[in-house]
């Protein structure tokens, strides 16, 4: 087996040492730092993008929050306005209702007064008629001329018996 022939052992070891040392030093000093820089650069870029994405997301969330706040505010304002309008309308309605009520009451009381007045008038007329009739009747039956005052007095005293 040629592998066990020591003739070229020293030569193999020598060149192995030369080439492997060169490879090791070259990779250590040149190639690997290069790859490491590229990987680091990429990682930095990714981190940067990630952080900027995060920032943007935060900004978006802030904006969303603002929009929601504004919507809420607008809702509240609208609610307030609706309430105000409803209140104003209700006030108006109740005011008009109460004035209507007053009017009606006034009209009712007016009508009542008028009725009472006309009743009184009627009663007065009735009294006069009674006086006249009594005067005539008494005048016809007897010759006694009764004055209105006397008759009225008598009628007043007997008024309870008429009804």
């Amino acid at each position: 087996m040629p592998q066990l022939n020591p003739e070229f052992f020293v030569s193999q070891l020598f060149w192995l040492a030369v080439f492997f040392t060169f490879l090791f030093v070259f990779l250590w000093r040149v190639s690997l730092p290069r790859i490491a820089t590229v990987l680091e650069k990429r990682q930095n870029k990714i981190d940067e993008n990630l952080s900027s994405a995060k920032e943007l997301q935060e900004q978006a969330m802030e904006i969303e929050k603002k929009i929601n706040d504004q919507i809420n505010k607008a809702k509240l304002e609208t609610d307030e306005k609706i309430k105000e309008t409803i209140n104003a309308l209700q006030e108006d309605v109740s005011l008009q209702l109460s004035s209507l009520d007053k009017d009606l009451e006034k009209k009712v009381s007016d009508a009542e007064n008028e009725i009472l007045k006309s009743k009184d008038d009627q009663m007065k007329n009735i009294n006069n008629e009674i006086v006249n009739i009594t005067k005539l009747t008494v005048g016809k039956i007897t010759d006694i001329e009764l004055s209105d005052n006397e008759l009225n007095k008598v009628i007043e005293t007997h008024k309870g018996n008429f009804n």
Binding site: P2, F8, F9, V10, L16, F24, L32, R34, I35, R42
Partner: protein, 244 residues
């Protein structure tokens, strides 16, 4: 010396230019040439593909980054944060073995990882390095590595020698695993290649089909052995940090 058409002939070393230094023969051979190609492939690939340093990688740059992350992940999984310091070494080791194996898959190309002296030298570097690291981290306490806690005391006379032997056999198992896999695979390929030639006309297609399948398997093994070499190195480094 192997015979002319022996399946082992592919492992013979031929000097390209004879060099002697201090009485030692350090000829530049086909093995050294394979190492040179391996080192060139690795350095050029890793340098040129990452040349643009683009944030969005090209496909080739992505391959380099994947290799980087693969070994970085392997180290952080097995050793943890302490492992970062050994990343260049483990990465170099992985790439050297991987590309060495892959270069060996090119027909007529020499496979230097099929030589026990090469794999043993790599394993010895790992073994000696890890042992020194263990003594640096734990001092004389590193010897408690051979003492297994929670075992009945009368077992220790048996277990401590076993632990010592298993520790000392690490470089051997590490190097022989890689060497034997490469040796067996390439020998098998050569044997079947011989069948293709020697069998009567069309029947040679069958061993040829087998060679195609076997080449796929060998590429898998080439990767697998580089991976095993790297992960065992990581585990040994981890042992130097964390005793039982």
């Amino acid at each position: 010396m192997a015979a002319k058409d022996s399946p082992l002939k592919q492992f013979e070393i031929d000097p390209i230019s004879n060099i002697e230094l201090g009485g030692y023969n350090i000829s530049f051979t086909n093995s050294s040439f394979a190492m040179l190609i391996t080192v060139l492939v690795i350095t050029l690939f890793l340098t040129l593909t990452v040349n643009t340093r683009s944030i969005i990688p090209s496909r080739m740059q992505l391959i380099s980054e994947l290799m980087y992350n693969f070994i970085a992940q392997l180290l952080s999984d097995t050793v943890g944060d302490n492992g970062k310091r050994y990343f260049p070494f483990v990465f170099s080791l992985f790439m050297f073995v991987l590309i060495g194996n892959m270069v060996g898959m090119i027909p007529y190309q020499f496979t230097f990882t099929s030589h026990i002296i090469v794999t043993f030298a790599l394993a010895a570097v790992v073994f000696i390095g890890v042992t020194i690291l263990g003594f640096i981290n734990h001092g004389i306490k590193f010897f408690t590595f051979f003492y297994i806690p929670g075992v009945p005391f009368y077992m220790h006379p048996l277990l401590i020698p076993i632990e010592v032997i298993s520790y000392l056999s690490r470089p051997i198992s590490l190097s022989v695993r890689l060497f034997a896999n490469m040796l067996a695979g390439h020998t098998l390929l050569k044997v079947f290649a011989g069948f293709v030639v020697s069998m009567p006309f069309f029947t040679g297609v069958f061993p040829l089909a087998f060679i195609v399948a076997l080449t796929g398997l060998e590429i898998l093994i080439a990767f697998l052995q580089a991976y095993v070499f790297a992960i065992l190195t990581c585990l040994y480094i981890n042992d130097a940090y964390h005793l039982h």
